[in-house]
């Protein structure tokens, strides 16, 4: 195999892997596989550095998870709302590409080797310090730093020649202090070249000086902005790489020394990410571009392209893209010079705008060099092209961030989703691995070098970056504006317009959250929550910018800012800054959810009550009423007023899927009444067999039963509970004679339900055995020891022969001697007949010794009865019946005695 074929095979394997990843949509599996298998296989690669190992693993994890996420994401684009869905997808794809690009940059590679062929110290060195309006108080320290660096260099290499040149553009720009600059140059004994006519901005200024000084051919040119003070060893470090004749320039980092100003501190964190993390990676691919200052350039290289380009706002970047096909670049890490960062937010945004417009304009003019092959194959290498593409497109991130803000707002406010067909679990399955991997990989690389402040500042630049993108795309001409190196307190204090876009975005987020709190669409709960999370995330980021804006507006320096307790940590160097926003996010999220789900049930801390043993008091039963659900709240007080007493027990029927109605039982408790619940095992929309006795006995309803038991236990007061009503008849679903049930099933089901309640420590329940015919229930009844109360229902229908209450009660007492009884009565018929029958009931009650309660079944017992049907069955259907009931009530206990 030749080397070319081997390369091809490697590429083929990688492509196959990528193809397979996109095809299979394995989600988190691939990330996990990369993490675990990759770590294991690292043992085969003889990599000795743990940092390199971790970087390899993390970068690959980001790669596979990003591919998987994008592949999945393409399948859930909501094409119906393409106008928001496609931009969001493109924004995400852009984000993914840059995340991958970041990892590609960091991928461990061997340092490019230098091939020394000459002694560069023999070359003349020209140090250019372009200045326009910075003033001598800024320039003088720079000059003194340069001279110190020169002296150190000359001390080491006495034969060397170093010329320091101040490139004074103040006169051409009508800056007030340009003469002072000349005087300063004379004072420190350096050359000063003052232009009379402007042109070409900073590049023109340098080129003018370069030509006048003869800094061409074999010379080396060091460039410092007026505020950039070099360290003593600057030239000692930067000149030596030129021993390799292929080296075109040596770039060093750009750091700020005025970090007591919050804006400069945040900007410094952003700069650090670029110079300490990204540039070393670019360097390993020979792709570090000239950054305009703190750089040494081979004059011959500049000569080749006719000097620094003067038609660009970022002349350095434009020059690099033209030089890189032929010349190599070197980046030297470490701090070799420090400068002044922007002192106000407005100045920072101005700087960003200049860089963005400049870089994007270069992209517009030079995209061919990046993406197309060079003439006769002399273009840039693959890695260089990638790096320039990443650098050029970086400034589109403002558009990306705006779409990130807008998309969830559109969904929350207008209900228009950008994603369709994605479940929450699928979203997490594909997105979380990517997000977690990329965050971990990023912070692993950036830890201790940058901070979240840099990220926040980058995000906050989105309005100016969008403006810049539009400017660059439309090709509008923009003048070169030097970033001010001094803070104009008065101007900073009155300027706040640059924060208007952030304010608008924040207000829109608030509106969206407000809409979210009003939205109770449970079908889309997951999507709503995800969107709300992103809105909150945007708000936290925007809040960070506002904090910085406030600090800027107040003119506070970082050291004063510590006094502000809430935002004091903003200026501290560590990531502790992340705490307030994250806490804020958590509070906001909790608050929103609380407002939305304000009906959260609280569980009382009631202790487990004593076992509920229903009492019997001969001739003095409790009085109760059983109400259909439609009359539950309205009828009880009416009846109590008519009877002149309060009911001691109120009954109702509920289904197993219902909640234990805590509000209702609490209301009963305040009136001194107890609930009696008849629990049916029917479930709306459920199959008939789900309600069968074997289903109950075999545990199909255990979850619901445990819920009921827990809620009743937490209620803490006595509850009567009837299960399996009329189990001896075929008209109920949980029947022992139909629906798959047999009489032997009753005992199993009854025992099972009681056991569940016992396990849940719901001992405040009296179990009501309620067959249709309790007198002849021997075939069905559970053991007596498991029954607390037996129910006798005497329901008298019009036009039928009504049962004799005394006989029925006597028969039941014989069947269940000494067992507490519930007597439920109801009748519909002629007033006289009904009243007479109720009087018979009263008489029967007086003779029966073990009646625990007599309850009137208010309302029609017929299934699906209408509201109008209930009137005839009411205890107050007529005055005679009401009077008869009053007599029963007088004999009954209308308030429960304390049985605790």
């Amino acid at each position: 195999l030749s080397f070319g074929i081997a390369q091809f095979v490697v590429l083929l394997i990688l492509l196959l892997a990528v193809f397979q990843l996109t095809r299979t949509n394995l989600g988190a599996w691939t990330t996990l596989a990369t993490c675990l298998l990759g770590t294991a296989l690292l043992a085969t690669s003889r990599v000795s550095s743990h940092r390199v190992m971790r970087t390899l693993i993390l970068a690959t994890m980001v790669g596979v998870s990003a591919i998987d996420y994008l592949a999945w994401r393409t399948g859930v684009i909501n094409w119906a709302s393409w106008w928001i869905a496609v931009p969001l997808f493109l924004a995400e794809a852009f984000g993914v590409l840059h995340t991958l690009g970041f990892q590609y940059t960091l991928w461990p590679r061997p340092e490019l080797a230098l091939t020394p062929r000459e002694d560069p110290t023999w070359r003349p060195v020209f140090v250019f310090i372009p200045t326009i309006n910075e003033g001598v108080e800024i320039l003088e320290p720079t000059l003194r730093g340069v001279l110190a660096a020169r002296d150190a260099y000359l001390f080491a290499y006495p034969h060397a020649r170093v010329t320091v040149v101040v490139c004074n553009d103040g006169r051409a720009a009508n800056a007030p202090g340009w003469r002072e600059v000349e005087r300063l140059a004379r004072k420190v004994d350096v050359l000063c070249i003052t232009r009379k006519e402007s042109g070409g901005a900073k590049a023109g200024n340098i080129e003018n000086a370069r030509q006048l000084c003869g800094a061409t051919d074999d010379a080396l040119i060091a460039i410092f902005d007026a505020d950039q003070i070099p360290e003593q060893d600057f030239l000692l470090n930067t000149v030596l790489p030129f021993a390799d004749p292929s080296i075109g320039w040596v770039q060093t980092g750009q750091y700020y020394r005025n970090t007591d100003n919050p804006i400069a501190r945040w900007a410094n964190d952003q700069q650090s990410l670029f110079y300490q993390v990204i540039c070393p990676g670019k360097s390993s691919q020979n792709a570090v571009f000239i950054c305009g200052t703190n750089v040494v350039i081979r004059a011959a290289a500049l000569d080749e392209i006719g000097g620094l380009p003067q038609d660009s706002l970022t002349e350095d970047f434009a020059a690099s893209i033209r030089l890189h096909p032929r010349w190599r670049s070197v980046f030297i890490p470490g701090i070799l010079a420090t400068g002044l960062g922007p002192m106000t937010l407005q100045e920072y945004f101005k700087q960003q705008r200049r860089w963005a417009i400049g870089t994007l304009s270069v992209f517009r003019n030079h995209w061919r060099e990046i993406f197309l092959p060079g003439p006769r194959g002399r273009g840039m290498r693959f890695g260089q092209r990638i790096q320039y593409a990443l650098a050029c497109t970086h400034y589109f991130c403002g558009l990306r961030d705006l779409i990130y803000i807008i998309a969830p707002l559109v969904y929350l406010i207008f209900g228009i989703p950008a994603v369709r067909g994605a479940t929450l679990s699928l979203f997490f399955w594909h997105f979380l691995p990517y997000w977690v991997a990329s965050q971990v990989a990023f912070w692993y690389a950036a830890w201790g070098k940058s901070s979240i402040r840099g990220i926040l500042l980058g995000f906050g630049s989105f309005p100016v970056l969008i403006y810049s993108a539009i400017t660059a795309i439309t090709g509008r001409e923009v003048g070169f504006a030097v970033t001010s190196k001094q803070r104009d307190e008065a101007r900073a204090a009155r300027t706040w317009k640059h924060l208007i876009p952030h304010g608008v975005a924040f207000m829109a987020c608030l509106v969206a959250l407000w809409v979210f709190t009003r939205n109770h669409n449970h079908d889309e709960q997951a999507a709503l929550l995800v969107s709300a999370f992103w809105v909150l995330y945007s708000m936290v980021l925007l809040s960070g910018i506002f904090c910085l804006g406030v600090a800027d507006w107040l003119g506070l320096r970082a050291r004063n800012w510590y006094a502000l307790s809430v935002v004091g940590r903003l200026a501290k160097p560590s990531l502790r800054f992340a705490v307030p926003p994250l806490l804020g996010l958590a509070v906001l999220m909790t608050g929103a959810l609380f407002v939305r789900d304000h009906s959260i049930n609280s569980v009382s801390g009631a202790t487990v009550p004593n076992y509920f043993v229903p009492d019997q008091k001969a001739g003095q039963p409790y009085l109760g009423v059983v109400l259909p659900v439609e009359l539950l709240n309205s009828q009880q007080p009416k009846l109590e007023r008519k009877l002149g007493v309060s009911f001691a027990i109120v009954g109702r029927t509920q289904e197993i899927s219902d909640e234990f109605d805590r509000g209702w039982v609490d209301r009963l408790a305040t009136r001194g009444a107890r609930p009696w619940i008849t629990l049916l095992f029917t479930v709306p929309g459920g199959a008939a067999y789900d309600t069968s006795l074997p289903a109950i006995a075999n545990g199909v309803h255990d979850d619901a039963l445990r819920r009921w038991a827990g809620q009743i236990r937490n209620y803490g007061k006595q509850v009567y509970l009837a299960i399996l009503p009329h189990v001896d008849r075929n008209w109920v679903p949980s029947s022992a004679v139909t629906n798959g049930g047999i009489p032997q099933d009753v005992e199993r089901a009854w025992k099972h339900v009681r056991e569940i309640f016992r396990q849940e420590k719901a001992l405040n329940v009296a179990w009501v055995w309620s067959p249709a015919d309790p007198i002849h229930d021997s075939e069905y009844a559970p053991p007596r020891t498991l029954i607390d109360i037996v129910l006798l229902s005497l329901i008298s229908y019009p036009g039928t022969e009504w049962a004799d209450p005394a006989k029925s009660l006597a028969a039941l007492t014989a069947r269940y001697p000494n067992m507490p009884l519930f007597v439920e009565v109801s009748a519909a018929g002629e007033p006289a007949q009904k009243a007479g029958w109720l009087r018979n009931v009263k008489a029967a009650l007086a003779t029966a010794p073990s009646i625990h309660a007599v309850l009137y079944h208010e309302g029609s017992p017929m299934p699906k009865a209408k509201l109008a049907d209930h009137a005839a069955w009411s205890l107050a259907s007529d005055s005679q019946s009401l009077e008869a009931m009053r007599h029963i009530a007088q004999a009954a206990r209308t308030r429960p005695l304390d049985e605790q």
Binding site: T44, G740, T800
Partner: protein, 492 residues
């Protein structure tokens, strides 16, 4: 890391018990309970089990009684992790640590390996024991004691006792032991070890067979004279085997080739490599010979075990060559190969693990119908029988494989006639069909179920498998009209 990953992926596979698992777990519980003084075992399981009933079934029965099917499946996972470790040790001894790591990784991400690590049958334990025996065999050159053959024989004997099919691989393992011993310690030692190992393997079969005649019946019925349950053309079986493990076998072939062209150190293992490659082909060859497709996916794992060391060696040499000594590139190549194999493997494992219907919904519905009395006719009765064993007794279950019935006229019937008569006479309280493995019988007997006076269809429970959707059909015997619709206007 590899073992952790294998565990996580295996544990992610989810389905209710497969028919065989349910059978082994149920029988294991019975055996375990019997050993603890419980009732005797109700069926002669030894007559149709492919291994000794007092080895794996008993073990998973004990585990099932502690932690249910999950505990039993954990045993399989542990065994497969042991098998992966064995692959590593074999490859490390024959080649180098890098090849061993890659071999283990490639083996661990095979679909059938992931699947078997979550499957509570004999196979995982058998693979792991064969694996341990192979490790011992390749390390035969490291120790000079002739008793070493006893250790290898004990492990190999246990493997055979676990599953009779391990006999197929015993010659290969013994051959490796002989070769490794001969190279290091001479032919006498090699011969002695071979005799000791073979004797122990034979003893592991002969003693149980003498003590329990069922063992011999089981061995012949399930292994040596097995009659194919589901026949398939030989080419289809070969293609199926290739789709399950072809990539690894292909890599192993390349590995053998590389041993012939590389360093002397690699070349001296050429013969062992050939034995490994030969053992790789045994399981598919057996299935092709028997024209039997059943259990191929489980037996292919044996092939994977023997192929993996060679495959790891091949990929490692290949990656070193094509990466041109760039470390990160070599790592990326090996990782990409593993990810590629894994992406195929996990899909395969998930597909294999969904070849049978998830019975959760069925069991949920059956819970609404069953009680400790009444008879149930169920296709694949092993599954509901296992899940409902706390409610439904053994005698209540009937299945579609065989059935004897004496009708009300005293006529003794068997097969389809017996089912029909029993259904006509309402013998079964519940009938469960899914028209699956016993589709012919199911169709032959379901006519009587369609008579509304006898049975009512109470549930049609849909399911999905890798082969497509289907339904469970559950009939209940119609109850005599015992319902009382209100015989009193006064009391109800």
């Amino acid at each position: 890391m590899i073992l952790v990953f294998q565990s996580i992926v295996s544990l992610s596979l989810s389905n209710t018990a497969f028919q065989d698992e349910a059978l082994y777990l149920y029988s294991g519980r019975q055996l375990f309970n019997h050993l603890l003084g419980g009732p005797p075992v109700t069926e002669p399981y030894g007559q149709y089990f492919a291994g000794l009933i007092y080895v794996h079934p008993l073990l998973i029965g004990a585990l099932d009684s502690i932690g249910g099917i999950e505990a039993a499946r954990l045993l399989s996972l542990g065994c497969m992790l042991l098998a992966t470790t064995s692959v590593y040790l074999v490859a490390k001894h024959l080649f180098d640590r890098d090849s061993a790591l890659l071999a283990a990784a490639l083996f661990a991400v095979q679909g059938v390996v992931l699947y078997l690590g979550r499957f509570a049958t004999f196979d995982a334990m058998c693979v792991s024991l064969v694996g341990v025996a192979t490790v011992l065999a390749v390390r035969g050159d490291k120790t000079s004691s002739s008793r070493y053959g006893l250790i290898v024989g004990a492990v190999l004997g246990l493997a055979v006792a676990t599953k009779f099919a391990a006999l197929l691989f015993a010659p290969g393992v013994i051959a490796i032991l002989v070769w490794q011993t001969w190279r290091a310690h001479g032919w006498r030692q090699a011969f002695l070890r071979a005799v000791l190992t073979a004797s122990l393997v034979a003893t592991a079969m002969i003693i149980p067979a003498v003590l329990d005649k069922d063992v011999l019946i089981g061995l012949t019925k399930t292994t040596t004279e097995r009659v194919a349950i589901i026949r398939m053309p030989r080419l289809d079986i070969a293609l199926r085997a290739a789709s399950l493990g072809g990539i690894l076998v292909a890599m192993a072939v390349i590995g053998i080739f590389i041993t012939t062209i590389t360093t002397i150190n690699d070349r001296k293992h050429f013969l062992v490599g050939l034995v490994l490659l030969g053992s790789t082909l045994l399981a598919p060859a057996y299935h092709i010979y028997k024209t039997e497709i059943v259990s191929l996916q489980k037996h292919v794992v044996f092939s994977m075990f023997f192929a993996a060391p060679l495959a790891g060696f091949a990929v490692m040499r290949f990656s070193r060559y094509v990466a041109n000594r760039v470390i990160s590139r070599q790592w990326l190549v090996t990782l990409s190969v593993c990810l590629l194999v894994f992406s195929l493997g996990i899909g395969q494992a998930q597909s294999l693990f969904s070849e049978w219907p998830n019975s959760a919904r069925l069991i949920r519905v059956m819970l609404t119908q069953v009680r400790p009395s009444g008879r149930i006719l169920a296709e694949e009765s092993e599954v509901p029988r296992y899940y409902l064993q706390d409610i439904v007794a053994f005698w209540q279950w009937n299945q579609l494989y065989w059935f004897y019935y004496t009708d009300r006229h005293g006529k003794q019937l068997s097969g389809v006639e017996a089912y029909r008569a029993a259904i006509a006479e309402g013998y079964f309280d519940l009938v469960l069909l899914r028209y699956g493995p016993n589709v012919d019988v199911a169709h032959a007997i379901d006519e009587g179920l369609k008579d509304p006076t006898r049975y009512e269809l109470i549930a049609k429970i849909p399911y999905n498998t890798a082969f497509g959707p289907g339904n469970y059909w559950l009939w209940r015997k119609r109850q005599p009209n015992a319902g009382q619709s209100g015989d009193s206007t006064a009391i109800f």
